[in-house]
């Protein structure tokens, strides 16, 4: 079972990973959480659906996403 870890302090909340990139569509920007740089970090809504394809990591500019398997 793959596990996605999003580094909230590194994420700049650009939303590139949330826009039709994830085949399972399980990434969102958290509307009510703000990191110390003032950005809304991304979050995985349902980790069980994740297949570990790495598409979110490929488009992440920081990279603020780590995937473990």
């Amino acid at each position: 079972m793959p596990e996605v870890k999003i580094l909230e302090e590194v994420c700049k909340g650009c939303g590139l990973c949330c826009d039709n990139v994830c085949p399972e569509n399980i990434l969102i920007l958290i509307p009510d959480r703000i990191n110390s740089n003032g950005y809304h970090p991304a979050m995985v809504t349902d980790m069980k659906k994740c297949t570990g394809c790495g598409y979110c990591f490929k488009v992440c500019p920081e990279p603020a996403i780590e995937i473990y398997k």
Partner: protein, 249 residues
């Protein structure tokens, strides 16, 4: 559990000072991965440009030099000729390469210097505030072309890959983009090929990468990504413009 995707050892832990949604970070990550994958990190010298990525020396975990504006290929030529065992790459933006550094890139390509040039094309001068660059599309708005680029006054954009493909010198030229996972994977392959050609002493290789500049374009990151795919990639077609390895050279 083993990490299968994450920050590569070719990048430092420094947080990158790019705007949200900027394409520079994706290309940095690809280069950082390649430095480790090809096992060249210890003998690589990178050339940082003038532009948003002027602090690239803080982000790449290899030796870096920061030359004057546009002079990356000239410095890379000197480095490669004096230290042929080193892998030299020049990382340049479109203001750096297509405006101030036009002479350097053309002559480095014509001499077929054994270097790799990574050309980030975001159709705008990003760092200075979104002014019109030689690569700005016709009709595209910028802070110095507020009604859109007028072909009659400001002329046509420079298509660098097509221009260099008219020379006999370059060994490998390709244009990629970083808007979708598919295009990012293509960019990874193109950069790997470009570095591999330099390692086997084939000659000049350049990869042009169409990249998003949401702040300079006045769009959200997601809008910028769509605009790149729909408008910019139409004007700058993606593909391989020169690959002499396929001709057996």
């Amino acid at each position: 559990m083993k990490m299968i995707f994450g920050r590569p050892a070719g990048l430092t832990e420094t947080l990158q000072r790019y705007c949200p949604g900027c394409g520079h970070g994706i290309v940095h990550r690809i280069i950082g991965e390649l430095l480790v994958k090809l096992d060249i990190r210890e003998r690589t010298i990178g050339i940082a440009p003038v532009g948003c990525s002027v602090f690239a020396d803080e982000y790449f975990n290899c030796d870096m030099i920061q030359p004057p504006h546009g002079r990356g290929p000239a410095i890379a030529t000197g480095l490669k000729r004096t230290r042929p065992e080193c892998i030299v790459f020049s990382y340049q933006g479109d203001g750096d390469l297509a405006a101030m550094g036009t002479a350097e890139i053309i002559h480095a390509a014509a001499r077929s210097e054994n270097i790799t040039v990574i050309f980030i094309n975001n159709a705008i001068f990003g760092m200075t505030g979104g002014q019109m660059a030689p690569t700005t599309l016709p009709g595209m708005k910028s802070t110095t072309s507020v009604k859109g680029r007028d072909i009659g006054k400001q002329g046509y954009p420079i298509k660098v890959c097509e221009m260099l493909a008219s020379l006999d010198g370059p060994y490998y030229l390709e244009r990629c983009a970083v808007d979708t996972p598919r295009n990012v994977i293509r960019t990874e392959k193109a950069l790997k090929t470009a570095f591999a050609h330099q390692i086997s002493n084939k000659g000049f290789s350049m990869v042009e990468i169409l990249s998003m500049c949401p702040t300079g374009w006045g769009q959200t990151p997601v809008q910028a990504k769509k605009w790149l795919g729909e408008v910019m990639a139409e004007y700058y077609p993606l593909g391989v413009f020169r690959d002499l390895s396929k001709e057996g050279k």
